[in-house]
Amino acid sequence: MTAATLPERATGDLAPDEYLRYSRHLILPEIGIEGQRRLRQARVLLVGAGGLGSPAALYLAAAGVGTLGLVDFDAVDASNLQRQILHGTADIGRSKLDSARDRLHDINPHVHVEGFPVRLSADNAREIAEGFDVIVDGTDNFATRYLVNDLCVLRNVPNVYGSIFRFDGQASVFATADGPCYRCLYREPPPAGLVPACAEGGVLGVLPGLVGTIQATEAIKLITGAGTTLIGRLLLVDALHWRLRTVRVQRDPSCPACGTRTITDLTDAVQLCAAPAEVELDAIFAAVPEIEPAALSARLASGESLDIVDVREPYEFAIARIEGARLIPLAALEHRLDELSRDREIIVHCKAGGRSAQAVKRLRAAGFTRVLNLAGGIERWSHDVDPKVPRY
């Protein structure tokens, strides 16, 4: 993809204050005045104003991209601030779009920000994407990633892809005229629970900063035609051991999106692993018998002897615990069944109820008949019973 493939728009000379603002770009031969004018003409849609969208939006605004579209329906939460640097402490509770607009205009008042306070869906995606030259995928769930990919393929708009988990990141440019698309790399999304994207969550706060700025870099290169983009390559970031490398991504002739073109319309895939992930896992495992936190509290207060088993990880146990609970991480449960008594009622809990539901199923399969899942996990316990238990 070169700049020549992006649409031309009417343009004028840069204003005097723009010459000063963008002077470090203007003296780069790869960008120069023409590149800066292209940036000013460009319309970039960012799907997600969270971890990846924050640095991408900040740098694209600073770089002078003329129009930034932002799609996000969420409000700023305190737990976002560890990585979502578009937003500040004073923004907690505000819509992310309002927070982002203020911050981006402060960085660069020349940038026009268009907000879309909705969840991107098959019904609204085409309309939202209308007129945008580049789409930056900063979403946090597989369903929207596949939707963005298919949208980009169908509309012939480059998909500047980034994704993160824990210490690992990925970036690429998909859906260009000759390059592969996301489905060439991963044909289908994983079923919930198989790929470790939910219950074992967490992300290094700086990682979306790394990957989001790579996405901004790629968007700028697509717009200006500078350099060589990540089309046909997947950048892999291992922040824990510091390894950066690219691997080849080939266009797959059998890809249903860009190969055989059997995907001719947008559909909403089942939402998988979106944050807050465990809430969705709850629904999947809702069939197991449960006990409400208030009911458990009442039974404990009456002196009942219940075996409360916490199946979270040790580092979660260190953050918050229910008094009297003992830790048996889910992965170790099968090997520690002999520590449990079939004569005593067992209450299993995790953070929000997803992993513990799996544990209840496994225990029942192993012959434990008196097992209940704590509804809503320790989060609900903290909310309903004991607010001194930290939420995380």
Partner: protein, 90 residues
Amino acid sequence: MPVLSLPSVLTSLTGGVHTIPATGTTVAEALDDVVRRFPGLSPRLRDEHGEPYPFVTIYLNDEDIRFIGGFGAAVQATDELSVVPAVAGG
């Protein structure tokens, strides 16, 4: 001896080890060898029938194995296999 490189998220299944030497002359043999030592990895690498997942791409050096012979692709002593699962975080 070829090695298998894992993303950090899978190292909880290998005791924290992210690069594992493997024996074998094909991708399948190398994966079999690693899975014998770390059985918990098995369902993360391929399905119950031994087939590749559409959401876990395995690379032999810089090439997606699907385009160079799949699990039957030949592996040399200096090769690196990498597991690159789909991740959705943002």
